[in-house]
Symmetry: C2
Subunit: 460 residues, 2 copies
């Protein structure tokens, strides 16, 4: 069969057309994006940077955060003229320190341009305060010169409770203070640092540059101001920022109980639960009876084994069935065992072992395809509070790789045993993970606080 | 096989979880949404209402626009006290007219509540000016009493060019004026009507109500202000409004050329083009050579027959391959003819004939599933300029139903012949459609300005 040129080498399965409007400059089709944070200290810039980076990487954009503070800490140590990084360092009157800070920003920008223009990455997130028009104007000019598209995210917050909690939780543990002073001293110094920034802070304004594109995130997502969004990446970033939230909640993930096909070692299909599987379904209902999760939603795949696993849960949990949560489609290999595949399609088995993430079963799906169809599920999980997801191994690997922030290359190897429940609790810079493993005989759950490891046997 | 209760009756394939946060009031899970337009005349409120309604209906939300102007025209005629609807009718000093207008709004609101609370619909769009805080406060209270979620869309525009084009294109053809005066008189009267509204216009403010949720669309999408978005529907509405645009452009749709499976009457598969199919591919390239579409993007499915159809197009068109554009998966019926299916699976053939839109092939997809996976494609089509989509019959039926604004029940019957190209040009309230049908022998294109009709034979 003749395969037209170009099709085989198409790696991305969901296309991202990145330029709106008419352009006869073809280089404009996939302009790399620089996302520039703006805001006073303790406004969640690093939180947004990291979270956005994780999301974009998971959806297939090579993305990296460039944190100017990290450059500054190296430069400041090298300069040796400044002791530590107390608030006076951030005073606009401290010329020596200003030089160090400007130099740190310049180095971060150069690295960022190298990262994007070498083709290594397609999105760079520039994490710094960037609180003056001058500073932003330098960045805009730099991006223009380097042919990069530039988008600002300003986090504005006047709610003292949000700021206080951010300073207390995150900033007193910053490398600027660790081991140098008490938490109270650190907090006081940090509040002074904010004051120093406030003296020169100029919030983003539409009028400051004609090509300015931005989103203002106001009071952690209560309101937004959006101006001149350009291209697919910016549009996705805006949508993502509008759906995330900081409210405490947990996400529970489980595979269905053992199915008849599981017991036979066969892939896919739509077989019902075995007796063991039904025991798990009963235990799962008991677990949530005891756990008393407020307002729990249940999202279930449309496969019989998943629906049977969810069927004993209290009827007042709101249950929805998503086709997007169905297992990876193994195409011509559905219903076969791994031994059958090795025997009948040895070439397929080899190809899969070589690049498990991109490998697509003939007439079926790849992990990359599953990530693509799960994107609306992740977006909706971000928007929701407490959710239990009852799905399948490959699908949950994709979901876990997102919350664990694992590279896509590791994603297909995350070990998710049957009859276990994962509880994820998102924190500022990571996600707590607890594994509950059911003993089918005693109906007892064993609890471990850990991320699920990678498989010993990488075939499944 | 035991099917758990609930699964069979699940009609919607992509779930919409509609409440964020914790709530122990289960009625809150699927609160119907009222979307309330706000803005001076000629700010595109009806354009947004109609476009949003089309999008929501296509994604599966039962949605209806309630246009107060239409109620008012009936009421005003009934009242008989007012002759026509000239600008003085809209003066805030005209007490009699104000009574008619208030009564029209009240009737529209009551109908809206009936529509939503009877379960007939899940989203109502309330299309009126709603330019005063008082008026909006009445709506908020009404929605609260009727247990409806309320979201405002304000269109703000101070660009005279946009307003002038809207007044000229749309308003002088309004039923308020048709046949009653010249276009110039109508325009002048309409500008006076705007002035009357301006005298009492109070733009939306966060502070006017604590539970206020809204988006302000500023200068036809150049900027947005978004406040307190609640739930899945509002989040989707905001994302949609941020991606649509008014720039002139065209979308071209074509099936692949005839494939070997087409020639044999077999479903699906991944066969290459026949000689006729290759002739079509060549003619398609010639067509776009002549058409000279600026900045054309080509979006192609990942099937061989589609890629071969696109392969002779100029290499400087930017081509992307979307798995989401692949043909409806016929599951166990892939590779069979309709006669085979009738013989082997008569029950399946019957079920499909009964409800073609919801019918899902075993281990395959339904039209509803295809609409769900096409949603990101539609969103991206809205955002883009000129695009050529090379795909398949079932997929293009879904895309066309969106642009033609056809009911989902008709969607699976739209007749899309092989070797034809559809050119869609979106206008304010509809979409121009031109069909180019290729004569394979003469390589001539026959051109018709029409929508594609429904099939004579409803089986395919």
């Amino acid at each position: 069969m003749e395969i037209p040129p170009g099709l085989e080498t198409t790696k991305r399965k969901v296309a991202h057309s990145d330029e709106h409007g008419f352009s006869d400059d073809l280089d404009q089709v996939r302009v790399p994006n620089v996302i520039v944070m703006v805001g006073l200290p303790a406004r969640g810039k690093t939180y947004i940077s990291k979270k956005l980076c994780r999301y974009l990487k998971w959806t297939g954009f090579k993305t990296k955060v460039f944190n100017v503070g990290e450059y500054r800490r190296t430069d400041a140590n090298a300069a040796d003229a400044i002791h530590g990084a107390n608030a006076s360092f951030f005073s606009p009157d401290n010329a020596e320190a200003l030089k160090v800070r400007t130099e740190s920003a310049r180095r971060a920008m150069e690295d960022m341009a190298d990262y994007l223009n070498s083709g290594t990455g397609s999105v760079a997130i520039f994490d710094a305060t960037n609180t003056t028009k001058d500073r932003r104007s330098i960045i805009i000019d730099f991006c223009k010169k380097k042919r990069l598209r530039c988008f600002f995210i300003e986090s504005v917050c006047d709610d003292p409770a949000i700021i206080d909690s951010n300073v207390t939780d995150v900033k007193v543990n910053s490398p600027d203070y660790k081991g140098l002073m008490t938490a109270e001293q650190a907090k006081e110094d940090f509040m002074n640092r904010i004051e120093n920034y406030k003296r020169q802070y100029e919030p983003l304004e539409e009028s400051e540059h004609e090509s300015l594109s931005f989103i203002k995130v106001i009071n952690a997502g209560r309101s937004f101001k959006v101006h001149q969004v350009r291209g697919h990446v910016q549009s996705r970033v805006v949508y993502f920022l509008m759906n995330i939230h900081l409210l405490p909640r947990s996400i529970y993930l489980t595979r269905h109980g053992q199915s008849e096909y599981n017991a036979m070692g066969r892939l896919g299909g739509d077989s019902p639960l075995t007796e063991d599987g039904r025991k798990y379904a009963a235990a799962l209902a008991d677990f949530f009876e005891e756990e008393e999760v407020p307002g729990l939603r249940v999202w279930c795949s449309q496969k019989v084994r998943a629906a049977q696993t969810a069927q004993h849960l209290k009827p007042d949990f709101h249950t929805e069935y998503w086709k997007a949560l169905d297992e990876l489609d193994a195409g011509i290999c559905e219903g076969l065992t791994y031994e059958d595949i090795q025997q009948r399609y040895p070439k397929q088995a080899d190809d899969r072992a070589t690049d498990k993430y991109h490998y697509r079963y003939p007439s079926g799906e790849s992990y990359e395809d599953v990530v693509s169809r799960l994107e609306p599920v992740i977006m909706e999980l971000e928007r929701q509070a407490n959710v239990l997801v009852v799905s399948h191994q490959a699908v949950l690997r994709c979901v876990l790789a997102y919350f664990y922030d694992r590279p896509l290359s590791e994603l297909p190897y995350i070990d998710i045993p049957l009859h276990s429940l994962v509880k994820l609790t998102p924190r500022a810079y990571h996600c707590d993970s607890t594994i509950y493993a059911l003993d089918l005989d005693t109906q007892e759950w064993a609890e471990t606080s850990a991320q699920l490891p990678l498989c010993d046997s990488p075939r499944d």
